[in-house]
Symmetry: C2
Subunit: 384 residues, 2 copies
Amino acid sequence: MTFERMWADLAPVGRAASGGYLRHPWTSPTAELEAWFEEAATARGLAVERDAFGNLLATTAPGPDRVLVGSHFDSVPDGGAYDGPLGVVSAFAALDVLEDRGFEPTRPIGIAAFQAEEGSRFGVACLGSRLATGSMPWESARELTGRDGVRLGDVVEGGDSDLLHGVSCFVELHVEQGRGLVDLDAPVGVASGIWPHGRWRFDFAGVADHAGATRMEDRHDPMLTYAVTALAANKQARLAGQRATFGRVEAVPNGTNAIPSHVTGWLDARAETEPALEHLVGLVSAQARERARLDGTSLTVTAESVSGSVSFDAPLAARIGRGRPVLPTQAGHDAGVLQAAGIPTAMLFVRNPTGVSHSPAEHAETADCLAGVEALADALQELA
Amino acid sequence: MTFERMWADLAPVGRAASGGYLRHPWTSPTAELEAWFEEAATARGLAVERDAFGNLLATTAPGPDRVLVGSHFDSVPDGGAYDGPLGVVSAFAALDVLEDRGFEPTRPIGIAAFQAEEGSRFGVACLGSRLATGSMPWESARELTGRDGVRLGDVVEGGDSDLLHGVSCFVELHVEQGRGLVDLDAPVGVASGIWPHGRWRFDFAGVADHAGATRMEDRHDPMLTYAVTALAANKQARLAGQRATFGRVEAVPNGTNAIPSHVTGWLDARAETEPALEHLVGLVSAQARERARLDGTSLTVTAESVSGSVSFDAPLAARIGRGRPVLPTQAGHDAGVLQAAGIPTAMLFVRNPTGVSHSPAEHAETADCLAGVEALADALQELA
């Protein structure tokens, strides 16, 4: 019951006419979600702290050896309701379940809401957890500039974070972003690991000119080089059984009657292994350069964020899994950053009937969300 | 001398760090250019009027049988200095030349600055002259919405225009946007006509989803359909000796880790004849639809503005041409709209050493600009 009430409270925050969400980090919708977090924590007698990067933590008791749960609030542009908030809300609901059960934890429990997991504002995924773990230094992060021209250093103070001091393990519950659990016919599963993945910026430079008066053979049109590259990425990933996407593109000057001077596309690529990922990005870059040579354009490829392969903590997964199906994910998560930073980490996935995510159509049935809350409560009872 | 002084006065207005210009219609840079126009006209004793669409007219005397010269002030995003303003400034300079020559016109002379020739804000090229001639009705134009979400009806009053009443002929001087005059080794030429041309919006719809977790074979990615279409447009235009460009693209949600739900690309196409243009756009649309079928995406093609073939008034061209070379243009101009509306019209082109236009690199040598002013003064002396 408490899960459904909390979920209904959050439903309108940052919702667009499309039904999708725009919950950019360090904007008013996420501030509203954070105010809700503080209220939910305070109502349960939890202490709330915010680190220098805006990551939130609510704790049942001070001290080390803490069991951490939680996820993030921010969304991609026009994203779904579940990706992120489901893990935060389920964490509070799981505490309520433990209280109903009369369970007295012997170790402190923390609920985290990490900032800027999607990377849709500053281009780096899992920014809050990377900063909290120190895997991204503040000195380089502060200069990150969003597409609105705002620097990260302008919206958040920065410094050091002790949010993760004393954390002995982390369990992140998350909506599944594929159809693995549909195929396995299970409402909840446990993650084995995260595919290595990253985002690469492809900057194509050509020569701006008049779209009407310039002969086709006199052009150096970077839109053509971009188009071939987007198709090459799709084809190479398909052939290799991996994933590659150009979902974001920007042309300059982006005028109908002007051949562009610049086109920038962002490659999102993921593969089963790190060598396979490197090979995939290398193939796409090589095909892009080959076409750039023909078009008389030029290409610069910049890795914006790359995450290595993550295997979650197998003993932890076994303790909380209780025979539930185990499956990998191609999506990055704060859990992967914490695991990579040496904190034993596990993930619980909640079934997504269509597999659709990063879209207004993202969905999970309430019964499956409640099964997720129970699984998270079981995990806390096992660990705390 | 007066040309160079006026040209220097306008050089800083709307100039970006790139050296290119952002002179969107109904914004502060164009307002500044219009204030300059009023000042230049008033200093010469001309009466200035502004019609309901913001087109400007300066006249030497009232009455009908008016000889009209002029061009436009607005630019494409990051455009050049010459496209448009050269024709307006040369018109004032030509009046000064006539005064130096002691020529007394027997007919009124008008200098026009048409609004929104580039179509880069509201998607329709030659908007001001289309409205002034009535070839686009205000009732449909007022609902045009720019990429900033602003409606045309919100920035301009609209209504009727009598700016072109009593105009007996129009001569537009313009920088050439190709290298025809370079090949012909002439500083100034006369236009024979304008290729038929237009802009078509291609809206590709797919299914938004997670870029990592969605298997390649489960996708309906409209970026792929767009990419194939942009390449098809280039190839078909190349094979047919015509012109086709996708210079503007917008993806939704335009996030790196999301497969787009929608991609919109704008096709600019031009051909020697109207049937050839129709055939070209038909071929590109057919290839786009064929690929959409394979991608499981959908496509809507909307003609945003289409201009038929224009042949300028041959007797007028002969009177002002004085043996100068005659050449066609692939670029649309207000002159084409006035000619199509039944006003005998001619164009003078000034040599462009690189042929580059719609780019910061657009250029004309001062000596050639002065030759253009002399040619325009000669035309006025012949006609007025």
